[in-house]
């Protein structure tokens, strides 16, 4: 599903954020990218959704080399991925329903499809009955659930999560992990960057560890060391 071959990415032309990374992620995998701040976890995610392009190496997603993709193909690539962030990135002037519907609206989905899919996904993330709330009226955990609903409403092949539990207390973070696990069980490939020991150790999934841009460990059913 996702394949990186000898990928290197520099920032400012000197300091490598990612150095010679190679790995394969199969369809339906759940993978943790772990490592301290600045080790290159977020950069790897940004290379996969093509917010960044590598200086060297190739990135393949669903059988296509995305570095050779024309710019007008990128939106279609991104429709196969959902993105979840530490700071949620919800639109403050839109309700819960509108935030999730927005993801379908801007890719031109008709109104009746939106009216059908948004309540479904809101029920999945446990936010039924809160459709008309605004983000500032929700707790952090609930806001992250809205963000996950927005990422998943289009049934993407891949879900990319960048420190989704970073702003949450342990109990709430656990709930979010349960949700991501449930989404993974529907066949969606999940790649999650984190430095939260507890969630990694509790889940026992594949762990790719980075240190200053270099992959130092790639382990099935790993723990955070």
């Amino acid at each position: 599903m996702i394949r990186l071959e000898n990928v290197s990415k520099m920032y400012g032309g000197e300091i490598p954020a990612v150095r010679d990374a190679t790995f394969d992620i199969a369809k339906g995998d759940f993978v943790f990218l772990v490592g301290p701040s600045g080790s290159g976890k977020s950069t790897l995610l940004r290379l996969i959704n093509r917010q960044e392009r590598p200086e060297r190496g190739d990135v393949w997603v669903a059988g296509r080399n995305i570095n050779e993709m024309a710019n007008n193909q990128i939106p279609h690539l991104r429709r196969t991925m959902g993105n979840v962030f530490q700071d949620y990135k919800l639109l403050p002037n839109k309700t819960v329903f509108e935030n999730v519907a927005f993801a379908l609206e801007v890719i031109g989905k008709p109104k009746h499809v939106i009216g059908q899919q948004v309540p479904q996904v809101l029920e999945l993330v446990g936010l039924s009955g809160k459709e008309d709330r605004f983000p500032h009226q929700l707790s952090g955990g609930e806001q992250q659930r809205v963000s996950i609903a927005r990422a998943f409403v289009n049934r993407p092949l891949i879900l990319l999560a960048d420190e989704p539990t970073g702003n949450l207390d342990p109990a709430t973070g656990e709930g979010i992990m349960g949700l991501l696990d449930a989404i993974n069980r529907t066949g969606t490939t999940v790649v999650m960057a984190t430095h939260d020991h507890r969630v990694v150790n509790a889940m026992r999934r594949r762990v790719i560890q980075l240190d200053r841009g270099v992959i130092v460990r790639d382990q099935e059913r790993g723990v955070y060391e």
């Binding site: 690539l77 991104r78 429709r79 289009n154």
Partner: protein, 301 residues
Amino acid sequence: MIQRLSYALRETIASFRRNVTLSVAAVITSAVSLLLVGATFLIQRAFDNLLVQWRGDVGMIVFVRPDVTPDALKLIEDNLRSQPNVVDLDKLEYLDRDASYEEAKRVFVGDPTTLSLLSIDTIPSQFKVVPLTTDPELVRNLALQYRTLPGVAGVSLAEDEFDVISTLSGFVRTVTIAMSLVLLGVAVILIWNTIRTAIFARRREIEVMKLVGATDWFIRVPFILEGLIQGLLGAIVSCGGLWALNSAWTSGVAGFKPGTGVSSLIVPGSYVNGVMVALLVIGALAGGIGSGVASSKFLDV
């Protein structure tokens, strides 16, 4: 399709509200510059009227010496009458010395020094010739024939008088075109800046749109539409201004004496309407280009 269109319109209106001050500034600047563009067209047209009217009237005056012999005078007149293909014989007019002196009193009413040098005994009489051709070169050739005839003091061509008007209109045109181009550039830059601000205000939303896979055009269209509407609003205001300006000018000109040439500086309404349509097109284009450039520059994938 309708859903996308309504989305674009909603976003455009919302963005316009968010940036009222900048939007109004952009509209006013485009209105002023377009008004100047329109005025340039009208001034040009008015000068053209002036030239056309004079060219259609008297094109050549043959001045005859006051001491001309009757034979020589008859020779000149016979010569003119022998050219029915070139000279409009019905309009051929001879002003004797009395009539010429009367005319001179009017021509030099503002110039008493010149007038005091003239008297009934020294003033040349004149043939007013209306050429049938509007080709200035043919008229010039005609004039050459008469300069050498006995008794002829000189030949004046309307064409030579036009030089002043032509030069003046050329100068006015250059200045107004230059000014309107500069102002139009300012309007485009202001619209560009308004759109840049609008994009900046919505950068979070745009980031989300890109991540969920909205196409560039989907993101861009509301911004381009916003710039286009700003240009168009400016053009509508400038059309109103141009109409008011032209009405005031037309009624002002009506107060001048006929035959002074000023009366020909009126521009017909159909021409004004054409200019207004052109202004609307230019305004929409300038707005669309300004916002199009801004949105492609600040909305990289």
